[in-house]
Symmetry: C2
Subunit: 207 residues, 2 copies
DNA sequence: GCGTCGATGTTAGAGTTGCTTACATATGTT
DNA sequence: AACATATGTAAGCAACTCTAACATCGACGC
């Protein structure tokens, strides 16, 4: 059980919103996003089952908050992985992909929320912005690699292709499809190889 | 509403199991797999809410049935796409990927069921077998392309990489992440290009 | 200090859902 | 015709989402 959640000691909780997000995060990870219930999160936070509705319009809004929290953390981890490599290098692009896949495996429940819940996300401008910002981290490295700007068609195509690959890899891993097909694969190696293939040859330095 | 479901006209329904699968399929597509309820499917089929439990152990088993139906249809579509191209050609591999992506876009709800529901699928040997068979269609083409057997490491890596790409592309498309990033992309073109990159150079004919 | 107000909690409850149990009805076999 | 089996219904429990009415606390003007 996730007993990292400190309960309240007075009538007013002090920081219920954040506590609920944490509790939800833990529950979503334990039992999957589907079987999660607001009631259970309330119990974990030590409040009545009606209390969350003071902070979130409905169940979905609470889940969106968890997704946003996850997206922000993943974006930070991606940014954190960059300094270890030369800017705009194949290694740094690969590292970004590795962070993506690692995050998915470390927090599959939250990861699913981050990319499912499409209708709910549409309603949240914040989530949209956060998603764009996260993708932007990758896109900028691709720009540097190709010596082009963000609006360039090749940058767009390459960035999306790389995203496609790590996204698919993440889902196949957390949905255990690798086991299904009985594969013995070196995932980091595959990630690195495919990143190289999709990036293509690095062009000569800018004109 | 999906009123393609003919109700019963006598006490016994005749073919309730199949009718429920069809109704569920429609509902899952209309409202997404999350908001689907057995009660609603029952109403659509014109039976009491307890009737489904004569045919399915629980809600999940009904959803698994829908997923299996979808997987079988996608596999058939993949097989159907092969005769149009030379066996083991880049075109035929691309065509398989295109079927995958098309299916996801045509039936996003069912597609999600086919690859989510991981725990539920583990319990179903039939679903496992169906999944393997579907993947096998791709793998066989890769074998022919590379002139190697299914057990070869390169075949495994290449097959998985291709799966990864179309899987990620499918989810990004149905979750509308393409819109989020404001991309104007030629998806079939991208699919074809990336298939080529991931397949790599075709080796010389068998020794 | 003190009263008021808004924010945030509680309790009670309406409506939905998943699933079970006991009973009813149709079908096929002998 | 009689019975066993398959498949439907009705009724109900526990859990869940969300709302409404009420309770409590902290902050602020005075």
């Amino acid at each position: 059980m996730a007993e990292t959640v400190q309960r309240k000691d007075s009538y007013h909780h002090g920081d219920l919103r954040q506590q609920l997000v944490m509790a939800t995060r833990a529950l979503v990870e334990e039992k999957g996003p589907d079987t999660f219930s607001v009631s259970e999160a309330s119990r974990a936070a030590g409040v009545s089952s009606a209390a969350p509705y003071r902070h979130f319009k409905d169940k979905r809004e609470l889940l969106v908050a968890v997704a946003m929290d996850g997206m922000a953390r993943m974006r930070d981890q991606m940014k954190g992985a960059l300094p270890a490599h030369p800017p705009g290098s194949r290694e740094s692009v690969t590292a970004l992909g590795q962070v993506y896949v690692d995050f998915a495996q470390a927090e599959p429940g939250v990861f699913r929320l981050m990319f499912g819940l499409t209708e709910a996300h549409d309603e949240s401008d914040e989530m949209l912005e956060l998603g764009r910002a996260t993708y932007g981290v990758l896109l900028e490295e691709v720009c540097k690699y190709l010596h082009k700007t963000e609006l360039d068609a090749q940058v767009q195509a390459t960035g999306f292709s790389l995203w496609t690959m790590v996204h698919g890899m993440s889902f196949l891993l957390i949905d255990q499809k690798v086991d299904v097909v009985k594969l013995t694969l070196d995932i980091p190696q595959l990630l690195s190889d495919n990143t190289a293939r999709l990036l293509g040859q690095r062009p000569a330095a800018a004109p």
